[in-house]
Assembly symmetry: C2
Homo-oligomer: 139 residues x 2
DNA sequence: GATTAAAAATGTAATGATTACAAATTTGAA
DNA sequence: TTCAAATTTGTAATCATTACATTTTTAATC
């Protein structure tokens, strides 16, 4: 599925900017921040505005074509993969890695947990990632 | 256990301000923001500075006497309960509720998940809380 | 009690991510 | 082509958090 198809599937009217941003999210599974998306695209789209990036990412989240990760208190990260999975934030390199969802499968189907209507599940883990750990111990 | 004992147990030298902030966290399980802690205490401690609240909460987190929740993209929330449990953010009233930890018990004891060294686990759920849900449906 | 150095608290100013808003541009239907 | 709606853009504001310099407190020593 390409960016165009994904946008229309989520009820988002395609535009050059929206296509470029969705394309970036789909091809870069790095959970970028709004600023990282802007920096990556402004070279090939000189007129792109940072406001547009913020607005567009917000639109994607509202339409559930992407999710916003609040794993990092510094700034929001965005993930074009809306399937149920977990995330790991490395406090050394700052990258966000994917992890398989390890919660109870039952839970993911539940609408109510302790009486609360659950609409989003975020499982975050923080520490030192594999790559950073190996880099330190190879000396 | 009182605030004084809790501070010393975590290697934090007690002071009037630190005691007051820890006391507040221990008696108010509302997961307050730094600003909420400040607003609650500045009445009885007129000289209290907001910077002190920020510094002190950061100290608590560093010493693992409290945890910072990044469940809310607007601002950080703080929890004096460092035991393993989950959190629910209501997008209606904005409150953060406690939930029992529902992840695999195995996972909580693991140091490594997919090769990454896990130091913190945060399980966040978002939606409409029980109280807000009941309030809407009683009309 | 006086002295003093370290620790802690304070107030103000900066930072920086995000949002508000108004103007400019683009789109698509008529 | 015309025109209104949607989208994009740039700038200015907002606001949580942090940096930093100053003041105050603490606690040890004389």
């Amino acid at each position: 599925m390409d960016a165009f198809e994904r946008l229309t599937r989520y009820g988002i009217k395609p535009s050059v900017q929206r296509m470029a941003i969705m394309e970036y999210l789909m091809t870069h599974r790095t959970h970028p921040t709004a600023d990282e998306v802007y920096m990556a695209l402004c070279g090939s789209m000189p007129t792109l505005s940072k406001t547009t990036v913020y607005n567009t990412l917000k639109l994607f989240v509202d339409q559930q074509a992407a999710q916003m990760l609040t794993i990092d208190e510094k700034n929001a990260h965005f993930d074009g993969d809306t399937s149920l999975h977990s995330h790991f934030l490395c406090r050394r390199c700052g990258r966000v890695h994917d992890l398989p969802y390890s919660g109870k499968k039952r839970e993911a189907r539940e609408l109510l947990i302790e009486g609360h209507a659950v609409e989003e599940i975020h499982h975050y883990y923080k520490g030192i990632c594999k790559e950073c750990h190996e880099k330190e111990n190879q000396n």
